[in-house]
Amino acid sequence: MENIPMLTILGLLPLVGALVAFGVKGRAGRNVAFGFSLLTFAVGFAVFHMSLHSDLAQTVDWIPQIGAHYALSVDGMARAMVLLTVILTPLVLAFEWNNDTPHLAAHKTPRWDVNVFGALALLVEGFALFVFMSADVLLFYLFFEGSLIPLFLMIVGWGGEKRRGAALKFLLFSLAGGLVMLVALIGVYAATSAAGNPTFLVSEIAAIEIDPRLARWLFAGFFFAFAVKAPMVPVHTWLPDTAEQATPGTSTMLVGVLDKIGTFGMIKFCLGLFGEASQWASQLVIIVAVVSIFYGAFMAITSKNLLRLVAYTSVSHFGFMVLGIFAFTITSIAGSIFYMLAHGFSSAAMFFVVGFLVNRRGSAEISDFGGVQRLAPVLAGTFLVSGLATLGLPGTANFAGEFSIMVGAFRVIPVMVFVSVIATVLAGLYVLWAYQRVFTGEPTEEVREKITDDLGGRERAIIGVLIFLLLFFGFIPRFGASVSEKTATATMSQLGIDDPVNGSIGGK
């Protein structure tokens, strides 16, 4: 087993699947794509377990002249992200099972056949897996930028009337962030060359002393790219537009998987490579994170569109993650990693239930709904459970993440935690108010006409899996938390910060 390049297999499997699915036309191609996503899930699950006991890392020289390597490895955080990716992709494919049928009134006619959607989703999955497994900054960057293309095509191909504009906005924002990161990447190369060992390997860069002033610039370059990705205020506006126009399946791949690269990169690169610079910037970052938390929450409250609402809740939740990361305690960083996992599931669940609504009603405008509970009680119930997970009810995975972030951060920045905890009330408001407007009351004639059936078997299975996961990780968080703790501890020792001891609040 030691000699089998499991990580390469895991990354390549969906890419191969994508090629096959491009070739096989129509619904047969869709089935092939789904099959490959299940296979990837199996391999990903195997990797998740094997990496616990053995080191699966792989390093091959790629461009020796500049010190670039084809290097893959999985640490605790990467394991969590791999798990998230391989679980969400089959669910997305199952959700978009019939997206070639024209009855999805909210969507313009799809540009391509359903097998293309499957292939593109597999491409996103493969690229994302490589991103999470890369141990080389250049390799990371290539796949980081590469993942934009299939996702761009997914937005262009399926969605609402204005999806082309949204896709362009998404691409431009991401490219802007990515190009700034490219400059920083070249800076890293310059720094390592100056130190006599030109390299892109993460482990080797971390060992090199970079001039603090240069390091701050490099940190800023990386952080900007990840802040756009994560998305943080004020570079977030692409997300609601994209989520509104793209299909919920695309949005799930985007918010559930790709956006995690933002927070993933902050921990792995910003904190891991530029520890001193991270501490130098932490106060500003924390303020931006708290602003994001409230900004996202308030925007979610005022949203008139369900898909935009879900997107803005994510802005708020990413704020919590960034807050945890830059509080620099083992608990808060581990909590952030756990929250990344939990948020992947909860945002997917929200996008899916909203998708069920949109597919029936042909609109995501909240004012077009009302009284749906009477017509589709199971849909209402699943919406409520997903919403409660989103607002962080104890017993759901999100609570464990949010709670540990704040417990950890409180030791360092109590005032900021006192402020941001208020957002949990706002979370209650945006979830329950949306539920109230969509599901309670008496249904109008139009709603009665459009929403005629409750969730079908496929839909129940998809949302059932997600609800199970949310509850599973809520009541038994240790399965996700044990992997995140290792990364958190390693990051803290890389930063050279001691975890605060009991009895100290705010450094006192």
């Binding site: 431009l172 205020v233 004020p234 977030h236 506006t237 900004y295 308030f298 925007m299 409250i301 005022t302 083992i330 608990t331 808060s332 909590g335 756990f338 009284g371 509970q373 009477r374 409660l388 009810l393 104890p394 017993g395 464990a400 993440g401 709670f403 540990s404 704040m406 417990v407 950890g408 409180f410 030791r411 109590p414 935690v417 006192f418 905890v421 208020i422 949990t424 009330v425 209650g428 408001l429 329950l432 539920y435 109230q436 599901f439 309670t440 009351g441 009541f475 038994i476 968080p477 240790r478 938390a481 044990s482 995140s484 703790e485 958190a488 605060p500 009991n502 009895g503 100290s504 609040i505």
Partner: protein, 637 residues
């Protein structure tokens, strides 16, 4: 205050049947899952399984209780290890249970009163198509409430705390096709969540100070903490208690919560859930004993609420809202007692226990009346129901006598102790508590007069009748409880609760009544007399439009809703739309203008592409000349 009396009981490891205490939570949870997942297939037997959820738990609780009685006092508190729950980073929380004298008392109350209310609900909800779902939610509530009281740490308690909030939300908005019900449910959840901020902050502080939120470990470590933070924890916990127990200033949700089915009001919004705040304060008594400021704050909140609740109760015409105001007021008494200290803690629980009986009794009685009056709740449309509903009247009267504190009924003893303790703590509190008792007597007499006595004022087509046996049965049991529990528990409950509340009681004979007790009784009789004299007069069918300011404020829930609307709904809405505007105009506007600017610049610049190769050539020449000039001038300079 009483530092000498403070002692902390370390729980012993669970043996025998105590190892299965988790079944108390697991069983109703299982019932909930079955009822929700089985769907319509279980409509025919769902309610029976639902009742089995509560009754089964009650049996187990009684067995545990008997077992505990048979154990020696120092070994009565039992720690039941269940599982590790959250270990993230250095934060570690176990999901273990603590079965001690306090929690078993709550378990008995919740499952016992719960069982009766469940039986009652079979009849009350007989015609509701969603009765199965109703019982599923009720079982969810039982499971969450038992998690709350059986948890051995604040984090697990928080699961139960939010769980009962969720159950309360689901049950208040059970008839969610009514907009008012949906709104009331959401409001309850949100106001509770404001309170939860307090509990969250308290837990953050505990983790930071002690690295644990386990009751026992916090109690041991608390005396070593900085005084400021002890007070802070006390205030945080008080905020949490205010939210859950509808204390001023977070009281506004309870009156709206009456939108839920009446059994819900009886179980959740009278007998059990709303008293969770009192439980929290009593459970945390080790913290409050070290902070004068926080415990004083608890007492002030209690006194203010007991008067505010009584005020509301005196003005409402809706029978359920009168009872809700009264619940606020009675919980105010409990809070007052809990703030007094170790002695008060036991009295608070005593009153909580008796209140659970007589208030559940009266709520169910009100439900029985509503059942008879075609779901009308306006007391102005009642009157003279004594004759047509003798059982309901009789049991309700028991509750009435108990709540106003007529000896030897339950409320007399439990309230009397609180008044005495408050008097000893400070005469101001004592006097206010006595005034509260007088107002209680007034508004309860008003309720009795308007509902059961006086003339018929029924709306046309209403033919009231006595409720079926399945509903009357629980009323009788609860009425007996309201009558005798005071005498039975008067002394026993303090002895029983001494270890967890850290108080060594004096012998209290049931016939011993201090002078404050007599004074209170005098005031109560005065209140009854005023109520009788005022409401003996004919009562208008419709509420008068013009009322004096006192009544106006009371009818409008002390203007809390107006305040909330103005400050939070309007203010928050303005803030939110302001941010939305910023998002659109400034943040996204910057992006859009960048895009527009780029486009405009391109439009201008492309004009230079004339298509004449001569002009391109000229451009190149100019460029070359400029470069040459720069180079030459550079050399020269």
């Amino acid at each position: 205050m009483y530092p000498m009396e403070m002692e902390i009981v370390d729980p012993v490891a669970a043996t025998g049947i105590f190892q299965f205490a988790w079944a108390l939570i697991a069983w109703p949870l299982l019932v909930t899952a079955i009822l929700l997942l089985a769907g319509k297939a279980s409509n025919s037997w769902g309610h029976l399984l639902g009742v089995a959820g509560a009754v089964g738990d009650f049996v187990l609780a009684v067995v545990l209780w008997i077992q505990m009685i048979g154990t020696e006092v120092p070994n009565r508190a039992v720690k039941v290890p269940v599982t590790e729950w959250m270990t993230i980073g250095t934060m570690s929380v176990r999901a273990d249970l603590l079965v001690d004298q306090l929690s078993i008392l709550f378990a008995l109350l919740v499952t016992g009163v719960g069982s009766l209310i469940f039986c009652y609900s079979i009849g009350y909800m007989a015609h509701d198509p969603n009765r199965r779902r109703f019982f599923a939610y009720l079982n969810l509530f039982i499971a969450a409430m038992l998690t709350l009281v059986l948890a051995d740490n604040y984090a697990l308690l928080f699961i139960g705390w939010e769980g009962v909030g969720l159950a309360s939300y689901l049950l208040i908005s059970f008839w969610q096709h009514r907009n008012s019900a949906a709104l009331a449910g959401k409001k309850a959840f949100l106001v509770n969540r404001v309170g939860d901020l307090g509990l969250l902050c308290a837990m953050f502080t505990m983790f930071a100070l002690f690295g644990s939120v386990n009751f026992n470990q916090v109690n041991h470590a608390i005396s070593g903490a900085p005084a400021t933070w002890i007070t802070a924890i006390g205030i945080f916990l008080l905020v949490a208690a205010c939210g859950k127990s509808a204390q001023v200033p977070l009281q506004s949700w309870l009156l709206d919560a009456m939108e839920g089915p009446t059994p819900v009001s009886a179980l959740i919004h009278a007998a059990t859930m709303v008293t969770a705040g009192v439980y929290l304060v009593v459970r945390s008594h080790a913290i409050y004993e070290l902070t004068n400021a926080a415990s004083l704050a608890v007492m002030v909140v209690g006194v203010v609420t007991l008067l505010a609740g009584a005020w509301v109760g005196s003005t409402k015409d809706d029978i359920k809202k009168v009872l809700a105001g009264s619940t606020m007021s009675q919980i105010g008494y409990m809070m007052l007692a809990a703030g007094i200290g170790p002695a008060g803690g036991a009295f608070a629980i005593f009153h909580l226990f008796t209140h659970g009986f007589f208030k559940a009794n009266m709520f169910l009685g009100a439900g029985s009346v509503m059942h008879a009056m075609d779901d009308d709740t306006d007391m102005r449309h009642f009157g003279a129901l004594r004759k047509v509903m003798p059982w309901t009247f009789g049991t309700f009267a028991m509750g009435y006598l108990a709540i106003i504190g007529i000896p030897p009924l339950a409320g007399f003893y439990s309230k009397d102790h609180i008044v005495v303790a408050a008097w000893e703590r400070g005469p101001v509190f004592g006097v206010l508590a006595m005034i509260g008792a007088a107002i209680t007597a007034f508004y309860m007499t008003r309720l009795m007069m308007m509902t059961f006595l006086g003339d018929k004022r029924w709306a046309e087509g209403i033919h009231p009748h006595e409720s079926p046996a399945i509903m009357v049965g629980p009323l009788v049991v609860l009425a007996i409880g309201s009558a005798v529990l005071g005498v039975v528990l008067n002394n026993a409950i303090q002895v029983w609760l001494a270890p967890p509340t850290g108080h060594h009681p004096h012998e209290l004979a049931w016939y011993h009544v201090p002078w404050q007790g007599w004074a209170t009784l005098l005031l109560v009789i005065l209140g009854v007399a005023v109520g009788y004299l005022v409401y003996r007069r004919p009562i208008a069918f419709d509420a008068p439009g013009k009322v004096n300011p006192l009544v106006y404020i009371g009818r409008n829930d002390l203007l809390a809703d107006k305040f909330n609307h103005l400050v939070f709904v309007r203010g928050g809405g303005a803030l939110a739309s302001g941010i939305a505007l910023v998002d659109d105009v400034i943040v996204d506007g910057a992006v859009r203008s960048l895009a527009g600017g780029t486009k405009g610049l391109g439009g201008v610049l492309r004009r230079t592409q004339t298509g004449y190769s001569r002009s391109y050539g000229l451009t190149m020449v100019l460029g070359a000349v400029i470069i040459a000039a720069v180079l030459i001038l550079g050399r020269l300079g």
